[in-house]
């Protein structure tokens, strides 16, 4: 069994409520941080832990915190990004629904380190029942003296508020989230200035993902030095993976970042293998925007090494033969799935979610959806495949925020690895309407890499 740091107590009956959470060691980290450590020591511990942002980008959290500006007399804010909207990702929902106090405790410690006296949890609007759970946890914590004025007699004040969004993937991008929290459309801002300097209401702001903030709790409990003993290399600690698609046991799993992709998919501790004894065709390991990989490149890198569930190993080979750990939204596709159709749903998603500020994204996502629709419904031309490639190239890197890249990458990866499936759709328009291309050679063993001369 892999060791756990976040979900180790998730199975305890009543852990959602303060008394049970507290009697099982909850708020010990907050007590330790506020009473014995001080803000700088907390920051040092988080830096030492090597914790990387769990929302998808994987940026070192300690470093992000260290950028926050501290002008005299200007309030600082901590914002929790609970806008979880990347297709395939549903891990933060699990944390908030079942162990809300872990997030509240993480917010207290992190706000203390940053010198923020107000923190906002910005949660996607569709998670409409979760704000009640969070607000109840906040009320319990406040009632027990963990929030409010002069917490534990330390002179530190903190209030936490929950803000619901209203349906917009783009608000997961931190500057769009800030705009939305200010009561505006979720249009990302041009950076710089970064939120650490001018964020919410033009004040210094840190935006962190739910899981990132929750991870601060075990880091303070066991110390940064102990935390890096979990995981591998620069992938320290544990990661929540939300697994879905054609597997026997979809759900949220906490993994130590030291297991192989193969073990994650096939072991009974995790996904439990492919449903109905089908064969694995492809997988999107880190949320819809990261490159899809065919089975053979998923389980082994192009160098023939075992692919591991770490930031580094999943990215091995770059976009040519690798992918990304991203948000941990792990989407598995069996031999019956159609790559063209799946790519079409993602193209439609990004078209729907583009905020419309930048022409390449606003127009390009629509064109990609249209061209993919033609190919999927038997009206495609061979030149459409190159056209798609051309469009995604012109979106990537040419927009204010990374939504453009997120829209381009899945299309690029699908063509890169599954071009013959696209060509088959074009060449056999009638047949493609009635059956799928199937597994083809996508699970075949890779040719042995040429030995370095």
């Amino acid at each position: 069994m892999g060791r756990k740091l976040l979900l180790d107590k998730a199975h305890i009956e009543g852990i959602r409520y303060y008394d049970t959470y507290r009697s099982n060691g909850g708020y010990a980290a907050a007590e330790k941080a506020l009473k014995t450590m001080g803000p700088d020591a907390v920051l040092e511990e988080v830096k030492k832990s090597g914790l990387r942002g769990r929302g998808g980008a994987g940026f070192p959290t300690g470093l992000k915190w260290s950028f926050i500006a501290k002008p005299e007399g200007v309030p600082r804010y901590l914002v929790c990004n609970a806008d979880e909207s990347e297709p395939g990702t549903f891990k933060d929902r699990y944390l908030m629904e079942f162990i809300p106090h872990l997030l509240i405790e993480g917010l207290i410690i992190s706000s203390f380190a940053l010198g923020a006296n107000s923190a906002y949890i910005y949660i996607r609007g569709e998670y409409a029942w979760i704000p009640d759970i969070l607000e109840q946890a906040i009320a319990e914590a406040k009632n027990k003296g963990w929030l409010g004025k002069n917490i534990l007699g330390t002179g530190f004040d903190l209030e936490i508020y929950v803000q619901r969004g209203a349906g917009a993937y783009i608000c997961g991008e931190e500057t769009a989230l800030i705009e939305s929290l200010e009561g505006k459309r979720g249009n990302p801002r041009i950076k710089p200035p970064f939120p650490a300097v001018k964020g919410l209401w033009q004040c210094p702001t840190v935006v962190n993902n739910v899981e990132t903030l929750a991870a601060v709790v075990p880091i303070i409990n066991i110390g940064g030095d102990e935390y890096i003993k979990y995981g591998t290399g620069k992938s320290t600690g544990t990661k929540l993976i939300s697994a879905c698609g054609n597997i026997n046991k979809p759900g949220v799993y906490e993994i130590e970042m030291n297991i192989s992709v193969e073990e994650f998919i096939y072991s009974d501790e995790y996904c439990g293998g492919i449903k109905n004894n089908k064969r694995l065709k492809a997988c999107i390991p880190g949320g819809s925007s990261v490159p899809v990989l065919p089975a053979n490149l998923l389980l082994k890198t192009a160098k023939g090494e075992t692919r591991m569930m770490t930031y580094e190993s999943l990215a091995d080979g770059g976009f040519a033969t690798g992918s990304m750990l991203g948000s941990g939204g792990f989407i598995v596709m069996d031999e019956d799935q159609c790559i063209v159709r799946n790519t079409l749903t993602f193209a439609r998603f990004y078209h729907h979610e583009s905020c419309g500020q930048c022409s390449p994204c606003r127009e390009g996502t629509g064109w990609m959806e249209k061209v993919l629709k033609n190919i999927e419904y038997g009206k495609g031309k061979m030149s459409d495949i190159d056209l798609l490639w051309d469009i995604q190239r012109k979106i990537e890197g040419n927009t204010i925020c990374p939504l453009g890249d997120a829209a381009a990458w899945p299309v690029a990866a699908a063509i890169r690895h599954f071009r013959d499936e696209f060509e088959w759709h074009v060449a056999h328009p009638q047949e493609a309407l009635t059956r799928n291309f199937g597994l083809a050679h996508y699970a075949d063993p890779l040719p042995a890499p040429v030995a370095a001369v």
């Binding site: 395939g88 929902r93 569709e126 209203a166 917009a168 009561g183 799946n342 749903t345």
Partner: protein
């Protein structure tokens, strides 16, 4: 339609929301207050409702319109009493959401974006709602209905009908 005016209770809630932000930043209350308004005034936001929210938060009407039109959860035209929002993005699609959408269309005799003649049901397709492990799924009011099958859809429809009859 009744006059657009929040109850005393809702007005207190608005005050409570505004108090979450620093003085003068009541524009931040806009999205939460639009949620309240949509709930209070028939499940959608009419121009009158949006104007009312603008007055309440001391904003220009355009500031409210531009936000209401940006976010997909705000309905800008009337919807049925029960709004079925079925996810159709990749992970749900590979788990059979296309078949569930077709089943609902046939069962209710409506297309996507349409409302049944009795005004009870509206069918909408939506993009990823973060329930990919429990697919196929839909949002119904405040909650998610997951692991959908045709039989489960039948149960949900029957449940809505009996609720509607009880009211």
């Amino acid at each position: 339609m009744a006059e657009v005016q929040f109850s005393e209770e809702k007005l207190n809630k608005v005050k409570e929301i505004i108090a979450r932000y620093p003085a003068g930043k009541q524009k931040s209350a806009l999205i939460p207050v639009l949620h309240l308004a949509q709930e209070a005034f028939g499940g959608w936001l009419s121009a009158e409702t949006m104007d009312y929210v603008a007055t309440l938060l001391q904003l220009e009407p355009i500031e409210v319109y531009e936000v209401a039109t940006f976010y997909s959860m705000f309905n800008l035209k009337p919807v049925g009493t029960y709004l079925f929002e079925v996810c159709q993005t990749g992970p749900c699609m590979v788990s059979g959401s296309d078949q569930i959408i077709d089943y609902i269309k046939n069962k209710l005799g409506i297309g996507v974006g349409e409302t049944t003649a009795d005004g009870l049901f509206t069918l909408k397709t939506v993009e990823c709602l973060g329930a990919c492990g429990y697919a196929p799924m839909m949002q119904l009011g405040k909650h998610y209905r997951e692991h959908l099958t045709p039989a489960k859809v039948d149960e949900i429809i029957a449940e809505c009908r009996s609720k509607a009859n009880a009211n």
